[in-house]
Amino acid sequence: MNLLQKFLLELQEITLLITAAFVGLFKSPRYVKETVKQMDLIGVGSLPIVILTGFFTGGVLILQTFPLLVYYGAQGESGKAVSTSLIRELGPVLSALMVSGRIGSAISAELGSMVVSQQIDAMRALGTDPYRKLVAPRLIALIFMLPFLTVAADVFGLIGGGIVASTLFNQDYGVFLASVRNGITVEDIISGVIKPLFFGLIIGSIACYKGLSTTGGTVGVGRSTTSAVVLSSIVVIIFDFFLSRALQSILDVRPV
């Protein structure tokens, strides 16, 4: 019961945080410069790891499925196999997990140490709303940049898959590309871009909430950083299932 209570309380706090951040967007001062800076930090900064993740995930997908496809005599469909799983699932989820590890932890550590060194109090004392100055730019940057990162992961995943297929399994690039083009549907792409919007919101709000509710000095900062990453990763994975289900029925996705 206590656990449920705690969960509901946190959910309420996070909802309030999101509301406060977004309501603030309609009032001046707007922190445009701050938001652009966060976008650079989050988007451009995470690009290398997301590209690497995507590239090797695409590669390993081919590596593992190609023999199976050969067994069924369907090696011509290799591009389709990798693109469906990559664009629907692995691209969005893996990018979100990487970003949650890199950015979620950074956000909650930064906000957490601002709390314990009284900088948040000082900010409030100087008349600034931390939800607007700190939370909103980070949330917006995450929601806006994660879809781009996901697309980058998808593209490099396909490239990785293509390279593995051609070098290790001697498949023709043209065949691979044709089956990719064949395999991707508009619905896949739409759902693959809608998902990261939600994941960005999840990662950002959990990280900001955990950071701002830090107590207990430096140890507390470590604690909230860890729980921000763990919680947001788990929530992303769980939410992904329900989001996939919802998108399937909304977009009427055919099951391959």
Binding site: P29, Q119, D121, A122, R124, A125, L126
Partner: protein
């Protein structure tokens, strides 16, 4: 405001205390404003978990007055100051700023109130990702003041605390005392009418501590600022309650001892003990007090 000499200020305060009979209309307006205290605590209670920190605190800070808050470490002095800014909310009781009951103000409503209050945090609380310049300029940047005006003001404030050389440094390149002084400059930007000092001289050498007290005296006597000055050091108390600032014909600020000519009435002591106010009054009454607790506080044993 700056033209106020201390004599004027003091006689103004005396009118409030003794004879509330304004002679002309202008005086009347001025006095009505002055009757309303800048800060008022009415029976404020606050506890953290099961520890009661403030157990029914009441005091007022009049316009242009400095209240020196004394009390043991952990006695709730910083907590009291945080309540004024609405960083914490009391369990019960009322807190008024300029006659406005801010006790139940939302965070949004508090933002307006905070504009007229400057706070010097005990630990400095500088933004460590911003340079000294940006720290001091923070409030002005938030208000969208033009960069040129910001720079003039920031330089003026940093000169005030004797730190103009450090303008481009980052907070972690500063010593503790320098950090505190940047905190003071940051709090005073925008000329707030109420200033809260939380142990601004702790850990500073005597001359620097003296400079900070002089600053508080100047704000009180020349700018008509109401302030709360939390301190442990009786030396500060001595400066604040015995000296006043006057501007001479050349426009220089001089500090004079109170004496025959006039007696300072705009500085008072509030002594906290176990969450209660056990003493309010002038410094001579304080030193003359028979109270055991005050005696040990003064003599250290």
């Amino acid at each position: 405001m700056v033209s106020n000499t201390s004599e004027e200020l003091i006689s103004n305060n005396e009118i409030v205390e003794e004879e509330l009979e304004p002679t002309d209309l202008e005086d009347a307006v001025d006095n009505i404003e002055r009757v309303v205290p800048a800060i008022e605590f009415r029976d404020v209670y606050l506890s953290f978990d099961d520890a009661t920190i403030l157990n029914g605190i009441s005091f007022t800070v009049r316009r242009g007055e400095t209240k020196v808050i004394l009390g043991r470490s952990g006695g709730g002095k910083s907590t009291t100051i945080r309540l004024i800014l609405g960083l914490l909310k009391p369990d019960s009781g009322q807190i008024l700023i300029d006659g406005e009951d801010i006790t139940h103000y939302s965070e949004n409503e508090m933002m307006e109130v905070r504009k007229k209050v400057g706070m010097v945090f005990q630990e400095g609380a500088l933004f460590d990702s911003l340079s000294v310049y940006d720290n001091v300029a923070y409030r002005l940047h938030e208000q969208g003041v033009s960069e040129q005006d910001v720079e003039t003001e920031v330089r003026r404030m940093l000169r005030f605390v004797d730190l103009e050389d450090a303008i481009d440094k980052m907070p972690d390149e500063l010593s503790g005392g320098m950090r505190r002084r940047v905190g003071i400059a940051r709090a005073l930007v925008g000329d707030p009418q109420i200033v809260l000092f939380d142990e601004p001289t702790a850990g500073l050498d005597p001359p620097t501590a003296r400079t900070i007290c002089e600053l508080a005296i100047k704000l009180r006597d020349l700018e008509d600022v109401s302030s709360i000055f939390v301190t442990h050091e009786l030396k500060n108390l001595e400066y604040l309650s015995n000296e006043y600032a006057v501007v001479d014909e050349n426009g220089d600020v001089n500090f004079e001892q109170e004496g025959e000519k006039l007696c300072l009435i705009n500085t008072e002591i509030v002594m906290l003990k176990e969450g209660k106010v056990i003493f309010t009054g002038k410094d001579d009454e304080f030193y003359a007090s028979e109270d055991k607790y005050i005696q040990t506080f003064v003599h250290g044993k």
